[in-house]
Amino acid sequence: MLERKSQGALTESVFYILLSLKDPLHGYGIMQNISKLSNGRIEMGAGTLYGAINTLLSRRWITPYEDNEKSRKKKYVLTEIGIEELKREIIRLEELIENGKTFLGELK
């Protein structure tokens, strides 16, 4: 895989959408899951979610999921690329947390 330049932080929305798609889930499920994960802090708007899903689909971080159930709702699931991007982001976040904790330690 080509070494990519640092793309900076993922948005909070994208990060939580990706976390929500370890298993296939539809749009409304993603919204509910994000609300649950953030203890109700983030109420994702359907319009915002739709835009984010389309961007993630076009980058192939997520993919439409076809299941045998005759459920009308369209589901999505993480791809390998999506998992890699999540891992990269978690490493970046850990760096932030580490440095933040060091700062707090020095304050005392």
């Binding site: 948005t11 909070e12 929305s13 749009g27 983030i42 109420e43 319009g47 915002t48 739709y50 009308r72």
Partner: protein
Amino acid sequence: MKYTYWRYFIDYEKEEKWLNSLSAKGLALVNVSLLRYTFEECEQAEYEYRLELLNNLPGNIESKIYIRFLEESHIEHISSTFRWIYLRKNKKYGSFNLFSDNKSRIDHIKRYIKLLLPLIILNLFCGIKILNDSLKFNISSIIYLGSINIVLSISLTYFAVKRIIVMKRLKKENIIHE
């Protein structure tokens, strides 16, 4: 029982507020055609209403896919005029905001300004042309027409500027917060 109101809005947030205030009183919007708003009785404050300006007309395939996505999230598509769609969500499914980050809010405002801009220019151009002609050929009867164009152009500019100010604030906020 159905109730009909005739209203004219340029500011969609005002329109949303009006629809939600009626919904709080127990009148739920069921149809919009041009300036005519039709309501039905509902439980008080049962629904929350939102308006969205789409990129395409509601009949367009991309719009249809989007509207279906909204419907899968308990959002009902009530009515449309041109590229505007009227949406509502029953409050038992939680609060209703279409946009939850600044980027998508800014995108929506940009769409709105792009809608107003040609109308502002067209009205200004027509107004100046008509006023000019009425003076040149001494036809006083069309002065009113030209004045209406100019007034419309100015008031549309006012609404566009109002949104531009909001957009600037959001962009500034975006530098610090997402």
